[in-house]
Subunit: 122 residues, 4 copies
């Protein structure tokens, strides 16, 4: 299993699952159309309750990152919407604000973003 959990974090477990799958898709570790583990198997492997895993999957589905086909399992589904939601923008604003206050110049921030974006190319 490719998921790791921080049980002491204040980020809820279902959100940790969601976040890691999103990053997995972006990094190419999870490819378009690829089958995700079933709710049950992921729950068994990770020791996390099925309800919690199910909640993560439902959130991912609602956000359009995955598709749960009644006939089979759950697959990765990438809809390139080219839309940057207000939430994403606000999160980015906060993120870059913190980096800026830490003393990073615009060039350093862009270089960091470039590197993070590029992490997918492996």
């Amino acid at each position: 299993m490719f998921l790791k959990f921080d049980f002491g974090s204040d980020v809820p477990l279902y959100m940790q699952i969601r976040n890691q799958i999103v990053m997995g898709i972006a990094s190419g570790k999870l490819a378009e159309g690829e089958q995700l583990p079933t709710v049950r198997s992921l729950a068994d492997e990770s020791g996390i309750n099925t309800m919690t895993v199910s909640k993560a999957y439902q959130l991912l589905k609602q956000e359009g990152y995955i598709n749960t086909d009644r006939r089979g399992g759950t697959t990765v589904c990438i809809k390139e919407k080219k839309v940057v939601s207000e939430d994403m923008l606000e999160a980015l604003r906060l993120n870059i604000s913190e980096l800026r206050i830490a003393g990073l110049s615009k060039e350093e921030v862009l270089s960091l973003c470039d590197k993070v974006y590029g992490e997918a190319e492996k």
Copy 2:
């Protein structure tokens, strides 16, 4: 007062205060050494519980964004640590992952980050 609240948000109020002050500092709206309102006055103006405002200030102090002087005044304090915490990096990874899946190319992401960073120059 420059703070705006979304009482229906799932972001806790103390975190909304913290985030807006951080973005205020990065954008230059709050300058180094500038005096922040007292816990009491901020609570009164915003209708938010004193305990909540206090919690936000404590968090900001702990993170090094503000300072409490001997007389009880609270001032903005920028220590350019040049350190990018693992939390910031993880948040950036998630952020850029979402943008990437939305279909933004590396150039578009960097251009967006450039713009967001630049919003401070006003």
Copy 3:
């Protein structure tokens, strides 16, 4: 084949079949007495399990929308019962409630219903 499926929908496939046939009848695309494809052929064309198609046909038959003749053929059958079931009424109530809360005036709702009813005349 005139049916389209959303495999990611939370509406079960057999219900999607049923709904589309009902709307097909109302719109005139499926005329009284018209022959429907056999369970087998519909299943083959659509890639949907025979059991699922069969379930949809059984439901339609039970509701009086289709008829199975002696030779096994399935035909559209319209009995104008002039009866509005409690389920239909409840669904309409919910429907109109949502439109109303969205801000549509009575005139706008009636105009929309008029238009939707009229879609059959093509």
Copy 4:
């Protein structure tokens, strides 16, 4: 309590809660800004689990019908979006199709919709 449940229905309990609250808002029984019962009290009164009630509230919140304020309880919140979602439209199409096949003329359908819309005026 104003909610009634059909425990034998294939409509999930959380959806029955959601639907009745939506109809309650449209009918004026629940006014803008009015306080809804807490998750716990509704669960106690109805004999339904808190998780189930909570799920209904979260759905209503996501749809913009209610607002859960961290400082207090849950209130009715009407945003007149004037937008008819594709889901609403599709549901209306199905609904009107069934009425039409039952033999109702356009006038009869519109008269019924008029009556249903008007049920709020009491």
